[in-house]
């Protein structure tokens, strides 16, 4: 008994040591690569803006002031308040809306990945583990969905369901599940024949336990990489749908809708209305992509030896 306990403690200590070593390696590799550090800083800044937007924002994001519309960046209002990034066509502060927009972009990006990832992982696990008609049905459903251009599908759903943040998350999430399902299915197909799965089966573990406690933890690493790339593409899709007026209601500031609102004033040289939300989208998406790239390299066993 004492031996077993000691062995357990040693195992736990060993895992903690292993984790610390991996963390140190991750930090070292990231610093050496440089760009991922910058990407992480940008994403952390975006996350802070999203989390503390209301506290940081100088104005109410929907507060209009028609008399102060289209104010240049750094211009002041009559009460001394400064529009750091200018005001929009309705006199709303661009900086404030940008901060609130970060909240929507990140929320939609991450929540949609959670929705799509959950559906895709479960579908992929079932498809790969059981095979046969379950596999056929799930994969054909995926094929059918992939046959439709995603934006068209999203527009169709949003027209039926109505616009709104939760509908948007649902639509964008559902649009992502096939990617996860296919990757999980492929990994499950190979893992289900491995010895440790056979062992779990021989020990009498239930099918649910084998799928979710034995196989799933072993395929999470590539999914993390996919998710990091997907967040970027979902943020872009949200921006595109908001640009088309199908995203969230007009009272909710998003980067995509801010960009859409800037269309009419671009020819009038009101550049700040398009540039700031555009830059925010580009930086966030780029950061997620750079981080995804780095994560992929970091988790790749072939590259691990080099680092």
């Amino acid at each position: 008994m004492n031996d077993q306990l000691a062995q357990g403690i040693v195992t736990k200590d060993h895992r903690e040591t292993e984790f610390r070593r991996e963390l140190r390696r991750a930090v070292r590799v990231m610093i050496e690569a440089r760009w991922p550090v910058l990407a992480l800083v940008i994403l952390l800044a975006t996350a802070v803006a999203a989390a503390f937007g209301p506290a940081l924002a100088p104005f109410d994001p929907n507060r209009q002031n028609l008399v102060l519309r289209l104010a240049d960046p750094l211009s002041s209002g009559p009460d001394g308040s400064v529009f750091w990034l200018g005001s929009d066509v309705l006199g709303r502060d661009v900086l404030t809306r940008l901060l609130y927009g970060a909240r929507i972009s990140l929320l939609v990006g991450i929540a949609a990945i959670v929705v799509g990832g959950t559906i895709g992982i479960v579908a992929g696990l079932l498809s790969g583990y059981f095979g046969g008609w379950v596999d056929d049905v799930i994969m054909r459903l995926g094929d059918i969905q992939l046959a439709f251009p995603f934006i068209l599908l999203a527009i169709m759903f949003l027209v039926v369901l109505g616009s709104g943040i939760w509908n948007l998350i649902l639509v964008l999430g559902v649009g992502q599940w096939v990617t996860y399902a296919r990757i999980v299915r492929a990994d499950t197909l190979s893992l289900r024949e491995k010895e440790f799965v056979e062992a779990a089966r021989a020990l009498g573990d239930s099918t649910t336990s084998i799928i979710f406690r034995t196989i799933l933890p072993n395929i999470l690493a590539p999914l993390t990489v996919i998710a990091s790339f997907n967040v970027a593409s979902v943020i872009l899709s949200e921006a595109a749908l908001s640009f088309l007026g199908l995203g969230v209601p007009p009272s909710v500031p998003t980067w995509g809708s801010m960009l859409a609102e800037s269309r009419d004033t671009l020819v009038a040289n009101k550049w700040w209305l398009a540039v700031f939300p555009g830059v925010a989208i580009v930086l966030t998406v780029l950061s997620f992509n750079i981080l995804g790239d780095w994560l992929r390299d970091f988790l790749d066993p072939r590259l691990r030896e080099r680092t």
Binding site: N62, R63, Q64, L66, V67, R69, L70, V89, L90, G245, P249, P250, S251, R263, D264, T265, L266, V267, A268, K270
Partner: protein
Amino acid sequence: MNLRTLVARAGGVALFCLTVIVTACSQQPEDAIVVGLSADITTFEPGMISSRDNANIARHIFAGLFSLTSEGDHVPDLAHTLEISDDGTAYVYTLREGLTCHDGESLTAEDVAYTFNRIADPENRFTGNSPGFVFTSIGFQDAVALDDLRVQINLARKNPIAFGLITEIYIHCKDAYEAMTLDEAASNPIGSGSYRLASWTRGSEVVLEKTREPGNFQRIVWRIIPEASTRTAELISGNADIITNVVPEQVEAINGSGRAEVQVVSGTRRMYLGFSLSEGSRQMPGGEAIQDPRVRRALQYAVDVPTICRQLLSVECERATGLVNPPNDHPDLEPYPYDPSTAELLLDEAGWSRGSDGIRFAIRLQAGRARYVNDVNIVLAISQYLQDVGLDVEVDLMEWASVYTPLLHARSMGPLFFLGTGGGLWSPIYDMTDMAEVGSSTNYTHWDDDRWFSRWVDLAEASTPEETRSIIDEMLQVFYDDGPWLHLYFQPDFYGVSTRIDWTARRDERVFLFEAGLK
């Protein structure tokens, strides 16, 4: 000459050639004119046409018995004379000889009678401007061909503006339309006007070809360009000759381009926020509150219309006092001032005090996108003003042609909706005719105040201009006090016109190109 100089010169020449080619490519042919519209069109069925853009195209395909000039005069078109019976209920038109429809069929009095009776036929369930607005207003009974050239239109009652309203009917030929289903008729118009439909790519463009005079261009291309910046870019690049609904922020860019200029005209379209008083709307948030005329009156004080005009339309405007265009409006009514304190006081008195969250009641505000000048921003600005006096406004912006227009046709609007309705200057009664009956297709509000609707009989029977004016003013007072509109403004219209085109915009939004030409 060294290599660098040679390359630089060759590059310069290539760039110049490219510019010339691109410029040449973007010039329209001399026999064609291209108009960029902001809203899509939905039908060419004469009984279903209702929007102004749709009507503008249709008027080139279908002629009327008489037509309305930009000066507000009615002049002969297919008909050359009109006789009205003493009791004012029979209108006899005499057609010009030798008229034909686009398929070559002779256009006779029988075709004109068929046109009127077909549009009025309840089996067809038409809901356009002709049956829903014109016929309900004039009390249309039936039309009878007296001989080949004379047709008699019978009305239920005398109506002082029936003559003007009848000009709005799109005349078409019997044989052609009897041979088509309603669906076929909606997309294959066989008209009586100067132009015939050559092609229609839904959501994209309509091409018309000239068949007879008047008209200076062989082809008219109507392109649907919902996005304002794209319309402007197309105008400046020479891909469009005329564009409608120029966004005020883009006026400077167009005028500075040297290729086009913006014509700003004081339009006759009445812009308003409608209070929908239907039973369906009553069940929605805010629907109950606006049933009370005191609430509607309170909200009149909540919106700063002159500031909206100045900031979002780049014009100074006087707020409307009703549904009649000046100078035909009620001379003694003052526009509601912007006075949020009064609005709050009246809302309190009406029993809608602010709750602990500062909200009096929630309400939905519906609007179409890209139909009117700067409409989205104006709707958002109005919602802000309403929020300032304690309303929780949910703004619902919809695609115009496929989502908002069907709601309008079905008169199924939510409690608050933003809309503009075309008006005229030739008679105050014309503007009031939107509310000719409770069930008029243009009474989107379902307003049913007897103090208004019972007066139409008095108006028809008035024997002197003074008596007519007095009744009109009494009706307008009711509309001002307890009406179903939150009065906004008469829309200024912004047209971008290429410098190669000789065309003058009208105040009544009719984009008629019969007299347009090259400079």
